[in-house]
Symmetry: C2
Subunit: 163 residues, 2 copies
């Protein structure tokens, strides 16, 4: 989310294989976090306020059906969404706490991939690859390319023009 | 490993609950990486050179039996071990590549723990807790407290006096 909001324009160059991989890793974080949160369910009583059709569309993009739809809604909600009294009866949960876990899920998925795929590289060579592929800009491009940005709930002026 | 080697002296103050948790998280990385490496087994042909009794002692400390003992040996080997022709017929694998994955395993385990245990904290409060509990110094204290440092294979002058 932060990645997307810090992005200014889309590049026309084709994606590298590593970047394509990064998409699946990047959004796998939602899936993995959904699994994590089965152990303790802080939001198990919450029901999503998003339209069911919207949730299904995002699940189709991610190729994953969430057991706890409220987590998906939370992941798609920017803090600005609650400005101007938008939260009629909703809790004020935004993606920010999930992002705290998601960043580390993404880090592990990518380091595991690099460790196994490049057995001859030493850590000094692996680290730059790791950093380059979880940069904010690359993750933002992933969100734009797969149209995930259009499902974000927010109250940001000129959001689409920034994308 | 780097944590341990950068440590100069042990503190006498009792450990905090968070730090105690950190031990189990910290060394869980060896276990989790062992699981990861079952999918592709870059070292499946390797046989450990460490004495079986040493391996069993470390497994007892960790409360975990490794299927692939060579991974445990690798995790306990500092690059300096191969100085002075110590590697008679051994590959020159040290802990450094495993550490590349282990750091992210540790990051995920701790962020998941903090996310679930402190549902009322925002990311601005969670991040300092996260950083404080995966500091090199704290991890080194864990290795010393549980005597894991004595199983490290190395060629470092005055290693014990530094610990």
């Amino acid at each position: 989310m932060d990645s997307l909001l810090s992005m200014e324009e889309e590049e026309s160059s084709p994606w590298s294989p590593a970047l394509s991989f990064c998409f699946w890793v990047g959004f796998a974080f939602l899936v993995i976090k959904s699994c994590i949160c089965k152990r303790k369910k802080p939001h198990q009583e919450a029901k999503p306020n998003m339209a069911s059709s919207t949730i299904r569309e995002v699940e189709k993009i991610l190729s994953y059906r969430f057991k706890n739809k409220a987590l998906l809604e939370e992941a798609l909600t920017h803090p600005s969404y609650y400005n101007n009294n938008n939260n009629n009866g909703e809790s004020s949960r935004s993606y920010q706490r999930l992002e705290f876990v998601g960043d580390t899920v993404l880090g592990l998925a990518l380091s595991e991939y690099l460790y196994l795929e490049y057995p001859s590289l030493d850590p000094g060579q692996l680290s730059p690859l790791h950093h380059a592929n979880i940069s904010n800009e690359k993750l933002a491009r992933v969100a734009v390319r797969h149209h995930l940005y259009s499902y974000i709930r927010h109250n940001i002026r000129d959001f689409r023009s920034k994308v």
